[in-house]
């Protein structure tokens, strides 16, 4: 009898463990990860300030993939946002009020992202929502923000559809058509490829967007798309598609997917004896790509928002600050997260009050804002106009190759 009890307890504990993770983003049991405004240092000169109450804090919301397939993206973005808010708070905050961000994990799933956005709006009453990285997740969140008139700034969702949702949805990165165009131009003009195959992630709006434009532009420039194969995010076996592609003898393979799938694809392409130059977009941008793909990803090219080799002083300054705080060189997701948060803070300073409509006006008026990933001027579609860089993988690192302007 006693043993049964013990066993039952063990079973409950085990199940409890399973449930805990699940309820993480559900409204029933809020356990948000929160970045607190910097605690007053126990300096003798400055007696301990009273802890900031709800009234003294301006709360921003963030939805990110802190676990799941795109966890590396979410974590970089969160780091960038934290750094930006820390700086803003050190500089006095907004009219004496400190800034804080409430972060919810969406486990890289769009339904979770939508739920998290709703929760930020209705429960936490945030002023601005920052997020998401993946376009599919941003697309799930955007209608909620639009409906509630809470401005949303996506740091790095590149699908055009995201800002088309409504006038409260902004972004600080360029959009898919541009990345597809950049790579098509690079493949044609610089690499002199005439035969390219595409392997696209049909489950992601991002990948589909890049594919569509690459296909169109590359053909317009006179190149030939010899094959278009598809996979679904999370697949682990791409051998069948790669075997089919191999028969068409392409020179280049365009894989506008995310780093984890790309690493596997590169590895399996080599395994299948497919000798091609791989090309992709900013979805490749993670140190994980080299850890998982090792030398199979060597020699590939990817378009991106920023490069740490960029000598511009404000970029180098950002890199220095980021390295001091986190000990790693920021990737472009971190730079864009940083930019998104800073654009939000900048707008808060200029806005006449912190209501949704006033903030919306202020963000829309952003002009020549010096971001870490390029100067941001938002156009009438709430998308920034800025150039892209092309990077090459060499020795387990992204090396800057060239900049391609719109």
């Amino acid at each position: 009898m006693r043993l049964q009890l013990v066993a039952a307890c063990a079973a409950v504990a085990v199940l409890g463990l399973a449930c805990e993770k699940k309820t993480d983003t559900k409204p029933a049991e809020p356990k948000p990860a929160e970045v607190k405004p910097p605690e007053p240092k126990p300096d003798a000169a400055k007696p301990a300030e009273p802890k900031p109450t709800e009234e003294d804090v301006i709360l921003l919301g963030e939805v990110g993939s802190l676990t799941g397939g795109q966890a590396a993206f979410g974590i970089s973005t969160r780091n960038g946002i934290e750094l930006a808010l820390e700086e803003a708070n050190a500089a006095g905050g907004i009219n004496g009020k400190k800034l804080a961000v409430r972060v919810y994990d969406d486990m890289s799933k769009s339904d979770e992202a939508a739920a998290a956005a709703t929760r930020l709006i209705t429960q936490d009453k945030v002023k601005v929502i920052l997020g998401e990285v993946a376009s599919s997740n941003s697309l799930a969140m955007a209608p909620k923000a639009q409906e509630a008139q809470v401005p949303m700034i996506s740091p790095s969702s590149t699908s055009p559809k995201v800002t088309e949702v409504g006038d409260y949805i902004f972004r600080v990165c360029f959009i898919d058509p541009f990345q597809g165009f950049v790579m098509a131009k690079f493949a044609h003009d610089e690499l002199h490829f005439t035969r390219v195959a595409i392997l696209t992630d049909k489950k992601s709006a991002y990948s589909e967007g890049l594919t569509e434009v690459f296909q169109k532009k590359f053909a317009e420039m006179g190149g030939k798309i010899v094959d278009v194969q598809a996979y679904s995010q999370g697949d682990t076996d791409f051998r069948a598609q790669l075997t089919a592609i191999k028969k068409r003898k392409p020179e280049g393979l365009y894989v506008p997917g995310y780093y984890e799938d790309v690493a596997r694809i590169a590895e399996q392409a080599r395994e299948q004896g497919l000798k091609v130059t791989m090309m992709g977009g900013d979805g490749w941008d993670s140190a994980k790509l080299f850890e998982l793909g090792r030398d199979a990803v060597e020699g590939g090219y990817a378009s991106n928002h920023y490069s740490a080799d960029d000598p511009t002083p404000r970029v180098q300054e950002f890199i220095k600050k980021y390295q001091a705080k986190y000990g790693t060189v920021p990737d472009s997701l971190a730079a864009l997260g940083y930019d998104a948060a800073r654009v939000a803070v900048d707008a808060m300073k200029r806005a006449k009050d912190l209501s949704g409509p006033a903030l919306r006006e202020a963000i829309a008026a952003t002009k020549e804002f010096p971001g870490a990933a390029g100067v941001i001027t938002l156009d009438e579609h709430r998308n920034p106009v800025k150039p892209a860089v092309v990077l090459k993988i060499e020795g387990g690192k992204f090396k800057y190759v060239t900049t391609i302007s719109p």
Binding site: K21, S232, A240, Q241, G273, E291
Partner: protein, 343 residues
Amino acid sequence: MYELLQHLINGLAAGTIYALVALGYTMVYGVLKLINFAHGDVMMVGVYVGYAVAFLLGRDAASVAGALTVFTVAMLACALIGFAVERFAYRPLREKPRLTALITAIGISFALSYGFQLDLSVTAFGREWTVLPGAASKRFPDIIKAQRWASVGEPAPADPDHPEAGPGGVCLRFGEDEQASGCDDVILWNWQVIGFGIALALMVALQVLVYRTRFGKAMRAVSYDHRVAALLGVPVDRVIALTFMLGSALAACAGILFALKDKTIQPLMGLYVGLKAFIAAVIGGIGNLPGAVVGALLLGLCEEFIVGYTSSSWRDAVAFGFLIVVLLVRPEGLFGRAQAEKV
């Protein structure tokens, strides 16, 4: 032609992994009539144990002794986990309705796959030890050095600028030849051969165990009716515990071969493979060992050809469609025996 042959190899390699996982599934089902949904996740745990062992031995130290150590430790660790799961989660529920145990199995599956997504490390003996690996994918060390076992194709042209002026004919090479151009239209890797060999050997070994040994006889007796078996002096608890340990060790073996094939591992890897292996086991006739292997190879081939010649969208649709057709036409599976149900 070359493409077809390569698809065949790829399909069999995928089927091999399903087969190894399905063997454990089907054996546990055969004895307990319990669909152990946690089987795929036990496999995942085995992979992480293997990862840790390989790491301690020195990453990528591809030696026979090293590879054997990785396999052995992972299989032992999984056997222990299998024992613990059975002892504390399933045994107390044995006399309860079957649904209770099934839900518990799902609970354990989730506990393992999501528990392993947590980051947890402790500092002891002067260094940091990772207890739970976290959600991010990891690269599995190459504990077996990947080599081309055989390659078939058109021989390389003498003049690389005029590929059409090749010498023609077919060339077949054995052994590693990574850098050579040409003769790589179809490639068979050493780990594909090793995996396939292990799957077939284990199938035969298990078949012998179940039908030719005393322990196997006890397993079959428990499977038939565990209460009567107990009355006749069969140590039911021990038989079931051993079956679970054996099944879990098999899962670890399957998992490491899977990791050698896919190279990237993450805590959710077991859910999907477990599901596919379950389909394979049902197609072959659940509880039947050769059935599980044949069902798994069929499923692997079927998926590969569908994706290769139509579109990847059809992969899962075909897998589950195949299951539905088999259940409609031959509910007992390809190799299963129909049993009359007493009403």
